[in-house]
Symmetry: C2
């Protein structure tokens, strides 16, 4: 559902996440990342100003189908209501226009699943929680000024607002160098400023923003590059094997470039430390740290030793966030042919996993950030 | 896009409108109905309380892809800003979970269309207007209490929350009698109470609700029944011709029942006049009238006399709101077969139009209602 549109999406360089619940079902690791933000969410919920005259707003930027953050948001609402039991909460799920909003709303309002599968709806057993969705890029201000009590974004803000350029011989900036790398760095810096400026404007004074960003940590590790095989190198090699086999044109091969950049902690902190930053007096970095969420499929493989089972978890997880980039690269092909080629890409990836299962894992490397919008009077109650 | 899901939708008896902009493109009549509400929208915008401390909220209940109300909402926002130029506006588009929200968000955020086609985006040249969507049935409270400044609903609240029962020999309650009709009447009465109670709670004190409801007018006219051929009778006859030709099972033929009821003005006014009504002191009926929006396709036919051109406008317009009911009736069939049968239904309808073009027209018969939430102190400034 929706690939045709996502390929021709004019509003953003960022591809749409795979639709219809697929994203959340195959993102156990991404959910674990959100669970790791829970202490920050609860800290925010414990300290935000509560005015009963209007609902408290929790905004999820880059929410996909919303299911991964459901449990953490329930805990956050629980904490807010421990402070003030009658508080009305509005949760805003924001993502791109082509996101699968029907999957989100079905999950919220359908009967609870009986056979497991989807996580419990955010709304189950909760009164006075209202949900809306925003279908716009988070590179714009998407909500009124001073309307958001707690902002949240997980594994989303590494997507750049545009692809600076193609990367010779590779699909991702992690393998770029020299002036190519510098172009991605510059774009990432400008984008991070833009994202923070809009979020600062949306937050109420005293409100918090919790961000878990894919990053390069102090040891040079990043998502999929913590062990033997590097996920992005593997994807790149398989993509180029399709090219060598005549399945891709020169142009298509080169067009697969992730509009992504994994910032270092220094790059993340820059807007908060520079004297000239537009954020000074607006948004404070309360805490920051990096952490690795270990690959749940590789961990399970340690027990079951079944390479096919490992591939069944790992490859769809990689596919959930990578497929869109290849779909866009193939946009001039007919949908059926496009699908065949992309299926073949992940079939080959799967074969590599099955051949050497011990080499493959998808660890997530994130920077965890707690940010706070300054109170109007300049005081800081935390 | 989305039919598979709409057929299995558990949250509501109401089928989803046809997706991906089709709805607005083939609903020139429905757009004319919304244009007819413009004086009420402007009256509301002239009288609602304006507090600059929070955004003014305009909520569209049953918005589909939002495009039909775009121009009228732009005028409404213009009026609000004539009163207070810095006012921030939030527009909330509400519809069922399976609605095509991506079509709505694409329309809002894409580049303006160059070749005509879609109406101008609500957001074009407007600053400080923010848009969110709600994917839930309007038979629930979908927004926080006292948060909506102007509520709006056009050609939506004739959809009942459930289908009371099958109607012997027909697809629609307009042809029901006796105890069958009474069941639909009772359901429509309960549903109208529910709808109004939720909207009253969502409105700010002094806020307005504008409703254009398909109705039966004082002359017994209703949508598609103002001239020679009756649209719902025609649909019913064609559906039963498919049954006679062996394309439908007994069960499928009987399952096509519109969960709809066109209320009379007396039925619409009842909750406001009864002493015991829960709405008393909450919601006031400021004005009510009925009006017919003449079929734009039949009007054009008067000029061009081209029966095929008439059918090209009329049949897709009928299809936009009727198709979902037949899709649901065929839910046990495979999607391809379901589509084939429904295509055949509208092909036969088209043939009838071409055979006797002067007999076919789709006039809309609406009750236009302006409602107002009482001020807390009981005063009425209008």
């Amino acid at each position: 559902m929706g690939y045709g549109q996502s390929v021709s999406d004019k509003t953003s360089a960022v591809p749409t996440m795979k639709a219809d619940g697929y994203y959340a079902l195959h993102t156990a690791g991404a959910r674990a990342v959100i669970e790791a933000t829970r202490p920050m969410l609860l800290k925010a919920a414990s300290h935000v100003p509560i005015a009963l005259s209007r609902p408290l707003v929790i905004a999820d930027y880059g929410a996909a189908d919303g299911q991964n953050s459901g449990d953490a948001f329930r805990a956050t609402i629980g904490c807010l209501r421990w402070r003030s039991q009658n508080v009305t909460v509005q949760v805003v799920y924001s993502d791109q226009p082509e996101n699968d909003y029907s999957a989100l709303f079905r999950w919220l309002h359908d009967e609870p699943p009986t056979g497991g599968g989807l996580p419990r709806s955010l709304l189950a057993d909760l009164d006075e929680v209202y949900v809306t969705a925003v279908g716009d890029t988070f590179y714009r201000q998407v909500l009124p000024a001073e309307s958001v009590t707690i902002g949240f974004s997980a594994t989303a803000m590494h997507w750049l607002s545009r692809t600076p350029r193609a990367i010779p011989g590779h699909i991702h900036a992690v393998s770029a160098g020299g002036s190519v790398l510098q172009e991605f760095r510059d774009q990432a810096r400008a984008d991070w400023d833009t994202l923070l400026r809009h979020r600062a404007r949306e937050l109420v004074p005293g409100g918090f923003l919790i961000v878990a960003n894919l990053c390069v940590d102090g040891h040079g590790r990043y998502v999929g590059n913590t062990g033997k095989a590097n996920v992005l190198d593997t994807l790149n090699n398989v993509w180029r094997s399709l090219y060598r086999d005549g399945l891709l044109s020169d142009q298509e091969c080169a067009a697969a470039t992730f509009p992504q950049y994994f910032r270092t902690m220094a790059e993340i902190q820059t807007p908060f430390s520079e004297r000239s930053s537009a954020l000074r007096g607006q948004l404070t970095l309360v805490s920051s740290s990096t952490n690795i969420v270990r690959c749940p499929y590789a961990a399970a493989f340690q027990r079951h030793r079944n390479a096919a089972l490992l591939a069944d978890g790992l490859v769809p997880a990689v596919r959930s966030w990578s497929e869109g980039v290849f779909m866009i690269a193939l946009k001039t092909k007919q949908p059926a042919e496009r699908a065949t080629i992309v299926d073949e890409l992940y079939r080959r990836y799967r074969n590599l996993v099955i051949a050497k299962p011990k080499n493959h894992r998808l660890d997530y490397v994130h920077a965890y950030l707690l940010l706070r919008r300054e109170e109007t009077d300049g005081s800081c109650a935390t």
